[in-house]
Point group: C2
Chain length 465, copies 2
């Protein structure tokens, strides 16, 4: 590994510059305006693979954004690692809250990143993280120390629900055949406390529309007599939680996995400072389901959040309109063994049932994803654990993540392989928010760690034969 | 009056064309982008007065949009009518719901307007209505039959709360000295049922901001543990009404005038067809304060409506953001004897009090206006009643209006005169909504009726001496 470290040191600046160039491409998958940029980003991704000497590089078209693929088979008998990542990013708005333009990366230090961090949309989620795998591959292959076969699959629709990935996997099962999927799209606890994500919440993302009168009305003439769809929507949203902040959708908790008190106890041993947490977010109080800690609320409990709401006059000044329609985007984070399809139906039924007769409601499912749990006893997990221990000097803690990477369950069912979630971000990196950033320490630490994973994985697989 | 009718018939087309030209000017007072158009409209208004031979025409600057003034004094001993109107209009959005561009007027028939109606923003509110007074003045002055002195005061800030009108009135008391203020900015019941507005609701318009975490967060990482400002705002808005749809702001009803059961009975004799009302708006059910009819709910009861709400991601697709802020515009219609300044304070106090400790709230008053009641026994009211009777062939019904024209109370207190609300619109004219329109019948009927008002008013004033 010494040669690799030396190689990393020699090429540090270039590794950074190459990432910065990718961060300048606004590959926002949710917004059709950026479709050309998404394609440019796919091409740049494929070009990197080609330049690295990866074989079979191809941009696969889908009904949405394309999937970039490439592979390096060193020995059919060696284990095969499928690296998954995504080159698309979240929308950058609200733009005015960014300190630098979202697609003009700059490097600044922060409290959690005294060595500097790259500020740009996608720096952590997921360009900076998938690109670590490209650079780790470069190090291994230039030093003739690649111990496994590698397949890269980098998609462009993760932020909009990976709409076409499952179809692609189903249609390319033999091409994608592998022993493990390796993903860096999660966090560690902090730069001194490595961790591996072993549980992920699922997702059910809905959009609702409430229609009152068939047209916008003057609130003076009609106000007080006809249903105001904004008021009604607020009533309906408010009723989705009870006084214990439990979700009132009927049947919502039916399939929630019961986590043992032992596991809950272990989970709560992770470093967590409530005062610091509240201070960082500048909130006066925590708010969540009664009877659970913050770690439990974000790890093992399902939640419901309004992600967006709009209706009526939102411009400057005062307009006394009684609007015809009001809208909201509402998403639920799911835990094992909740099924997004089932929850989608329960939500729809519930939302229609609670609507007053005076209004019409329309409920649309935008996307969903299965919750997942990663076993900590597998050869794959052990290899990741040893790799992190080698570079951090500490065994990583298994951690339940609050976010969703629905493709984990999909890989399990379609490709029959498990996934290792070895991410290097921090929860404070503001992914999905203005001023997203990714620590330089974390970027280089990831590039350093990944070859260890390959090495230990090849060894452990060999032993287990 | 025969000559006037003949004059009206001869100049019908020009009277219409002149109005259409004014409707092409997008004089939206709420949006700074249209400041130049507002000024263009003020100049066009002043030019019309000059062309009509009105004296002392002047565009008075204010800290906001200017006020257009002009006068014609025929005899210092004759009664003086101050015509008030406003040349500014509401914003036109949502633009996509207009069948024609809002500032490109077209004429179409509707169910309520079989003779055709002018579709354009401001057609009814208030360009079409104040311009009737210009054309009525033209008829009287060209036919040497003007029986009163006339003063015109047309402002450009009615739709944003008439912020500078009171100051202007205070500073120009002698210039504005008059016997009555005449305003056409209200409705009649229908084209066969004339009415005069004798009560107006006041207004208290607030904007609220709820801040949860100090930045947008990933809803997967933080969801379930920290306050989501949209969910919290919905809870707070929902709590502003109780199960009887009464407003829960403490002290809100303290000063509400008790309307006698006799007056309530009379009020409910006005033509109103609940089925037709619901069908017109395509609503499944009415929604309002328990114990009151629709006419009462919109006439004598105070109300609270959310006029706009926004927060989080509102673009296409799914973004799993837990936003930092959520906003709403909330207005309350007030009735005698509620005081907007007092209600403003009560609302602010209440809204701050109900905010959970987890969030911060900011409450801003945008504008307010006093409720008003017009006496039906005055010489001024009698003149208006006789004028409408002359042209409609029916005595107008006294009606409580749901909307607010806060300047009525201001004229009373600053100029010590009462106001006659002789509007010719229909409630179904979609003012403040897409596809605002004004009936040709109504436009011409207004021009025909106004000279009768002058004639009867001069006669009745003479008699009462």
């Amino acid at each position: 590994m010494k040669e690799l470290n030396q190689y990393l040191n020699e090429h540090k600046q270039r590794f950074l510059d190459e990432l910065l160039a990718l961060l300048r491409i606004p590959s926002i998958s949710a917004d059709p305006k950026y479709a050309d940029d998404v394609r440019t980003m796919a091409q740049a991704t494929a070009q990197h693979l080609t330049d690295l000497g990866v074989d079979q590089v191809e941009i696969f078209e889908t009904a949405g954004h394309p999937i970039v693929y490439g592979e390096k088979i060193i020995d059919p008998k060696a284990p095969t690692v499928l690296v998954y990542g995504h080159y698309d990013v979240q929308p950058a708005d609200p733009l005015e809250l960014w300190d630098n333009p979202a697609f003009e990366p700059i490097i600044k230090t922060t409290e959690n990143h005294p060595q500097g961090a790259i500020f740009a949309r996608g720096s952590c989620d997921d360009k900076g993280q998938f690109f670590m795998h490209f650079k780790a591959f470069e190090m291994m292959s230039r030093n003739n120390s690649l111990p496994c076969n590698v397949k890269f699959m980098i998609e462009g629709e993760e932020e909009v629900g990976s709409a076409h990935l499952e179809e692609f996997c189903k249609n390319n099962k033999s091409k994608l055949a592998c022993d493990v999927v390796l993903v860096s799209d999660t966090s560690i606890i902090d730069n001194e406390t490595p961790s591996l994500t072993v549980g992920l919440r699922g997702l059910c993302y809905m959009e609702v529309e409430v229609t009152g009168p068939n047209r916008d009305l003057h609130s003076g003439v009609y106000g007080g007599a006809v249903p105001n769809p904004i008021n009604v929507l607020c009533d309906m949203i408010s009723s989705l939680h009870d006084s214990k902040r439990r979700i009132t959708v009927e049947g919502f908790y039916d399939d929630v996995e019961k986590v043992s008190s032992k596991e809950r106890k272990m989970m709560n041993e992770a470093p967590y400072n409530e005062k610091a947490y509240m201070k960082d977010l500048q909130i006066g109080e925590l708010m969540g389901e009664k009877g659970y800690t913050t770690i439990e609320r974000t790890g093992i409990r399902p939640t419901l959040d309004v992600n967006g709401i709009w209706g009526g006059y939102t411009g400057e000044g005062a307009k006394t309109v009684l609007p015809s329609k009001a809208h909201a985007k509402i998403s639920m984070r799911l835990v094992p063994d909740q099924d997004p399809k089932k929850i989608e139906k329960l939500f729809q039924k519930h939302f229609e049932a609670i609507a007053p007769k005076a209004v019409k409601v329309k409920v649309t499912a935008l996307h969903g994803g299965q919750p997942a749990v990663v076993p900590t006893t597998s050869v794959e997990y052990k290899a990741a654990e040893k790799a992190m221990e080698a570079t951090f000097g500490k065994k990583p803690l298994p951690q339940r993540g609050g976010g969703s990477i629905p493709i984990v369950a999909m890989f399990e069912s379609v490709l029959q392989v498990s996934t290792i979630l070895m991410g290097f971000g921090l929860d404070s990196d503001d992914i999905h928010s203005p001023n997203e950033h990714y620590g330089l320490f974390n970027y280089y630490k990831g590039i350093e760690t990944i070859p260890y994973f390959y090495q230990y994985y090849a060894e452990l697989k060999q032993k287990s034969k």
